[in-house]
Symmetry: C2
Subunit: 365 residues, 2 copies
C-alpha cells in the first residue's frame, strides 16, 4: 500500500469522510437518508482503492449537477413494474446510488422469498462502483449481479462512432474464510480516465486501447481522446474485441432497453456536456440454497479460490489474485490507517466545504 | 459464404445429417430421443458456421468415448435439488446435450411460472455450443443465459498452471424484425484449436493468445501448445487479461462449484487423456414481461441493434455486426444450400458409417 502513503495523499477517517459527503449533499437539497447512501458508496470506492469512483467525483458528478438542475435532489422515484421476481424502478433523474441500493435491496428481499429476482432502474444517474450493489448479496448467502450503462466513450468492433459506455458488469459470490469473489470490470479495455493520465504524462497508449476519430487505432493519447475507447479484446476481432463489444452491448440492452430507459444513440456523449444522466442499471440475485447448502458451497469456494491463488506463478510474479482480493485487502488496510484522498481531491473537498459553509475536519490524526 | 463453397467442403442435407448423427449414437446405445437432441445441437453448430462444435466431434468426442465406457450411453440422470426458481441436475456422466437441453427447458418452464429461474447440471460432458441452450428462451419472450466449464486449457493472470477451461458464456435476447442478439463466446482469447491451425500453417500467433510452459508469452504455436491459453484481454493486466481471467473463473464457479460438480484442479486437463468429462453447466432465464411489454421491448431491440449496425464504419470495413448476426445469416444460407462439412470430417463420417454399418446418404444433390 506504499503507493498511497506518499505525500500525494492525505488520510481521512472513514466516518468523518462519509459525514462530510452526506453533509455536502444534504446542503444542496438531497434528503439525509439518500445522502448517507451516496456517502457510503463513494467512500466504499475509496476504501477499495477505486479512487476514480470515490469522493473525487463528489463535486463534479453530483453536487454541481444538482446545483445546475441536471440531477434532481428530491426525485420522484416510482415503481414502474413489479412481480415476485422482478422490479422496475424509475429513478426520476435522481442520484443513482440511493435508487440503485434500494432497488437491489428489494431484489434481494424478493430473491429471499422467491429464490431468484431481476431488476432494473431507468432515468437514473452515475451510481458509483457496480460491485457495491452486487456485494449486498454476500451476507445473505446469495449471488449478486449489478451493471449499468454509462455516458458513451467507446466504439463497436469495425466502427468509429462513439456508441458504447464503459458499461461495467459486477458479480459477487461469497466464500467462507477467503474474501468473496467480486468481479467488477468495465467492458472497454481501459477507462477514459486512463487516456487522460497518459496524455498528462506524455506516454504512449497500448495497442488495443483506443481509436482516433477516423476509426484507426492510435497510440497517441491526445488523438485518442478525440476518438473512442476500444472494447475489451481491442481493435478488430483477432484478439477478441468482438467479445468485449458484445458484452458492452449486452449491458446496454439489459440496462437501457429492458428498463425502457435510454440506450444506444440516445445515451449522452461526453461532447453533450453535463446533461441529465439518462443512465439505467440492471441487477439480479439468486439464492445459493436453491442449489446447495450454502455452508458447503462456501467451503468449496475457499477450495476453488485457493486453487488459483496457490498455483504456480509466471516469471516475475510472486502472487496470483482472484477477483476482489486486492480491493478487499485495501479496504482492511484503509479502514485501519485512514482513507487515502489525493491532495488535489482533498483541496477540492476543502474548497467545496468553504463554498457550502461546512466544517472540514475529517483528517485522520 | 464463398469460403464454404470451395472443394474443401461437401454439402449435406440438414435432415439427412441429423438422422445420421442420431443413428450413429443410437447404434452405440444412446436412447433415440437423446440421440435426436445431440444431432440437433451438433448440426445447429454446423449451420451456424461453428464447425469446431459440430459433427466434426461426433466420433472423437462422443461415439468413441461412449464405446470406451468414458461416457454413459444410458445415464442415470437425477434431479438433485429443485425449487420453483432453481434446478440442479446430475447428468450421471451422460452426454451433455440431452441433460442440458432438458434442464434448460425445465428452467424455462419454471421461469414461465415464476418469472425467473436458475439451473445447473453436474457430472456431465461436452454439450456443444452454449448459445443453443440460451436461444431456447427466444421464442418464449425470455432472456436466456447458458454456460459451461470445460477441460482445462488456460492459465490465470500472473500464473502458468493450466487451470481454466475455455469456459464460454452465452446470452440470447429476442428482437422483433432483427435477428436475436446471441452473444456466445469463450472467455479465453482464442480456442485451443486456433493454436493447432496456426501450428499446421507455420504461422506466428498474435500477442495475447498463449504462454509457454514456463509462463512466458510466446508467439510460437508449437511452444504454446505445450503451454496454456491466455484469458480474453491477454497477458498480464495492461489490456484487461484479469477481466477475462475473472470471467473464466466466474464460469467455473457458477458451473462447477454451484452444482457441487468438479471445479478448478479437479477438472480434467488435456494431458489426462479422454477421461469422463466431469463438466458442469449453468443456465438462467427470465421473462421480459417482468419489466416491459415484450412487443415494445422487441421493437426497441430492433432500434438498438440497428443503431450499431447503421453506425459509421472504420476504414477498411463496410459492415458492423451485432452478436449472433453472422451465425443467423449462415444458418439461413446453409439451410437453403446445404450444411457444409469439411472433406476431412466428411471422410471421417463415412468411415464411421462403415464402422457402425450405417447408410451414408445425406449428401445434398
Amino acid at each position: 500500500m506504499a503507493d498511497v502513503m506518499t505525500s500525494e495523499y492525505r488520510l481521512a477517517t472513514e466516518g468523518g469522510l462519509k459525514e462530510f459527503v452526506a453533509a455536502a449533499l444534504t446542503k444542496v437539497g438531497v434528503p439525509p437518508e439518500d445522502a448517507a447512501i451516496v456517502a457510503d458508496v463513494l467512500v466504499a470506492a475509496d476504501l477499495r482503492g477505486v479512487e476514480s469512483h470515490g469522493v473525487a467525483r463528489l463535486e463534479s458528478y453530483y453536487v454541481s449537477r444538482i446545483r445546475a438542475g441536471q440531477i434532481e435532489a428530491k426525485p420522484n422515484v416510482q415503481t414502474a413494474r413489479e412481480t415476485p421476481t422482478s422490479l422496475l424502478v424509475d429513478a426520476g433523474n435522481g442520484l443513482g446510488h440511493p435508487a440503485a441500493k434500494r432497488t437491489m435491496e428489494r431484489i434481494l428481499d424478493k430473491a429471499e422469498q422467491s429464490g431468484a429476482a431481476f431488476g432494473a432502474v431507468r432515468n437514473s444517474n452515475h451510481f458509483g462502483i457496480a460491485g457495491y450493489y452486487a456485494m449486498l448479496a454476500l451476507d445473505r448467502d446469495m449471488i449478486g449481479i449489478a451493471s449499468t450503462n454509462s455516458v458513451r466513450y467507446g466504439a463497436p468492433t469495425f466502427g468509429k462512432d462513439v456508441l458504447l459506455g464503459t458499461n461495467p458488469l459486477a458479480f459477487a459470490i461469497p466464500a467462507q474464510k477467503e474474501p468473496a469473489f467480486v468481479l467488477d470490470f468495465a467492458t472497454t479495455t481501459v477507462p477514459k480516465g486512463k487516456l487522460e493520465v497518459y496524455n498528462r504524462k506524455g506516454k504512449q497508449l497500448n495497442p488495443g486501447w483506443a481509436i482516433d476519430a477516423n476509426g484507426h487505432e492510435t497510440l497517441d493519447p491526445n488523438v485518442a481522446l478525440k476518438g473512442a475507447l476500444l472494447p475489451l479484446g481491442g481493435y478488430g476481432v483477432d484478439n477478441g474485441g468482438h467479445k468485449g463489444y458484445g458484452l458492452g452491448l449486452l449491458v446496454d440492452i439489459l440496462c437501457g432497453v429492458l428498463s425502457g430507459g435510454a440506450f444506444g444513440n440516445d445515451l449522452p456523449a461526453p461532447s453533450d456536456g453535463p446533461l441529465p444522466g439518462r443512465i439505467s442499471h440492471f441487477f439480479a440475485a439468486f439464492k445459493i440454497d436453491g442449489f446447495r447448502d450454502p455452508a458447503q458451497f462456501k467451503a468449496d469456494m475457499d477450495t476453488e479460490l485457493r486453487a488459483f491463488k496457490d498455483s504456480a506463478k509466471a516469471p516475475g510474479h510472486d502472487r496470483i489474485y482472484v477477483a476482489g482480493e486486492i480491493e478487499h485487502e485495501k479496504t482492511l488496510y484503509n479502514r485501519e490507517h485512514g482513507v487515502p484522498v489525493h491532495v488535489k481531491v482533498w483541496d477540492g473537498l476543502q474548497k467545496l466545504a468553504a463554498d457550502l459553509d461546512l466544517p472540514f475536519d475529517f483528517e485522520k490524526t
